[in-house]
Structures are given as C-alpha cells and as structure tokens.
C-alpha cells in the first residue's frame, strides 16, 4: 500500500488588497504540487490572485474547550467599541 500524500490547507487572496482566506484543503506530495493543485481546484472561476499552502500538521490551533477563558473577557469590555461613547451632535463627525 502506498503512502498517502500529506494534507495541505489552502489560502487564497480573492482580490488585490484583501488578505488570504482559508478556502479548503487537498492532498499533494509537496508544496509546489499543492500550489498547482490548488490553482486547478480553487481558482477555476476567478476566485483568486494569490495562493498560500501550509501543510496541515504545521498548524497549531486553540482548543474548543478554551472558548470561555479566551473569548468571554472581551464580551464585558464594551468600552472598546466607539459606540460606547456618546458624543453630542454639535461636535460634528468623529
């Protein structure tokens, strides 16, 4: 039985000026082939102008069980949003 090609995660820049976004994954023997395959699979209809590929086992991720401690603190800090502050109309646009 042959060895399975490694899994790569694919990121595409949709248009000039936008950041790369995760679009999916595929198997390829190396980075060069991963980019070629990504071009064939994920950019058939003008979806992108640039491709990044990352071998999936090189990605570290936060754990779902840490959702609470990681993200809840930001919910109570509403003063971080500009709408928290009332600025009188006569001040003009701010």
């Amino acid at each position: 039985m042959s060895k399975e090609w490694p899994l790569w995660e694919i990121f595409i820049r949709g248009q000039h000026g936008l950041s790369h976004r995760h679009v999916g994954s595929l198997h390829a023997p190396d980075a060069e082939m991963a980019i070629k395959n990504a071009r064939d699979v994920y950019t058939r209809r003008n979806e992108g102008v640039s491709i990044w590929v990352v071998e999936a086992n090189n990605i570290s991720a936060s754990s779902p069980s840490e959702k609470g401690p990681l993200y809840e603190p930001s919910e109570s800090k509403i003063y971080r949003h500009p709408t928290f502050f009332d600025i009188p109309d006569e001040v003009g646009h701010m």
Binding site: S2, E4, W5, G24, L26, H27, M33
Partner: protein, 324 residues
Amino acid sequence: MYAQMIKSEASTDDPEKLKEFQAKIDANIKVEPRDWMPEGYRKTLIRQIGQHAHSEIVGQLPEGNWITRAPTLERKMILLAKVQDEAGHGLYLYAAAETLGVSRDDLTEQLLNGKMKYSSIFNYPTLNWADIGAVGWLVDGAAIMNQVPLQRTSYGPYSRAMIRVCKEESFHQRQGYDIMMKMAQGTDAQKKMAQDALNRLWYPSLMMFGPSDAESVHSTQNMAWKIKMNTNDELRQKFVDQTVPQAKYLGLTIPDEHLTWNEEKGGHDYSDPDWSEFFDVLKGNGPCNVDRLEARNKAWDDGAWVRDGLMAHAEKKKAQVAAE
C-alpha cells in the same frame, strides 16, 4: 440522492452531553471538527459525506464517456469543465469527511472494495448525446434539490463544502438544459433522441431521492441532527413540480400517464418509480455497476506509480534540503 438511505448510528454517549449537543444544533450553532460530538453523529456523517464524495467521482464516468464524442469543440470544452468540476466537488467532500477522523485512502479503499456506496443513478449508461443533456438537466437538477438545503447543515465543513458545490452546480444544470433545448428544437430525429433520453432517465432520477422515509427512525434522527434537512418525499415532490414546466417548454412528455396537477396539495401527483429496480441496482445489479467499479479500480491501480513517484521525489528533495 447523491447520498441514499443513510442509516444513523445509535449513540451510547453521556445523555447530559447529548442534550447539550442537541441544544447547540437547535440553536443553529455549527459543529466544528474539534468540538465534542456524539459518536453516532460522527459515523453517520462519515458515511453520508463519503457516499456523496464517491458519487461525485463515479459520476464523472458516464459524462466522461462523451468528452471525446461531443458534437462541437465548444460542447467538448464545456463538458470537460463540468467533469472537472465534479472532481473538485469530490475533493471538497472528501476533505470535509477527513475532518471527522477518517483518511482519504480509507474512503477510497471502501469505495473500491464495494463497502461504501455511491448514488444509484450512476449505474445507468449514457447511450447518446441527448443523455448528456438529460443528465445535466435531471440528475444535476435532482442533486441541487438536496444540496441547496444542505448548505444549512449543522456540520461546519460539510456546510462550507455544499456552499462551494452549489455555486458551481447551477452551471451544470443549465448546460444540460441548453443541450436539451438544442435537441428539442432540432430535427425530428434529434427531438426523438431527447424524448428517449427523458423516457429512460426520468424514473432513475426520481429514485435518486430514495424511497419514502417519512416513517424511518434513521431519517428522524438525521433530521434532528440537521444532517438531513428534508424527507425524501418532500424533495422528490419539489423536483417533479419544478421539472414539469421545464419539460413542457421543451415540448417533451414526461413518461408518466398518471402525472396530474393536484390543486388541493398544490403539487403534481405522479407515479412512483419501480422500487424493486432501485434495490436491485443498489445490490450491484444495475446496467453499469460492474463497469463503474472496474473503471475506478483501474484508475487507482494504474495511478499508483505516479503517486509513489511524486512522493519519492518530494522526500528526496526534502532530504537534500536538510543535508545542505
């Protein structure tokens, strides 16, 4: 459908956790790969997404059969693009299944040894060019019926794969209908071919949705988990109602003498396909079951040296870089 008669697996998980999980699904919060999920949910999804992926891949065969025989260069290029899309759809789905902890090669092996199924529809032959039109129009049309609601399925990677698939699928149905229009407006002989294709593919298309499952336990569980969004009968009814006016526009007759508009239910009454034929095809006795599996096995075996060669090359290059 592309995934037919998916049995749900019983869960033996902690009832408290199951309750929490169901509440999350009821609140339309997506389940992501590393979130806790019941074993039954995971296994059922692997079976369903895997079967869906296999259908995309095997579905390339009846259409690929006509790439070299398309009537014009433009038709050939269009069909080539469509068949290439199907390979992409298979890939998106395999990748979604892999997030559930099954390997790609595992899934492939189970297709090749017949343990996992693909949609019954691809065991029917495409005998002439009109069949390519009818496949796009009816088979892709039926697939869309199922795939559009699945964009809202509870499992994140599956839902995202479905969104990509649906974006591309309507090109498929339109190209099929475009072929049918050309044939139906053509010579008498062409019109006859179009009618003949509809006659042969109508009931196999209705079978794609699977037998009535309104009473099925599996269906109820899968719908509660939102990995099945509608009953088979609901989708089949929608398909019939959508297709009848399309056939009428083509000037073709749907091969069902009992087909009538039912004012009361606001839909058509229609004849059921022959379900014994459906079960027979699932068992492996359809016109093309043997050919399809042989073709997939041959492609896999013949491609082994390419897969191994590219891997060996990649490893050699890596070793060279490491030594420098």
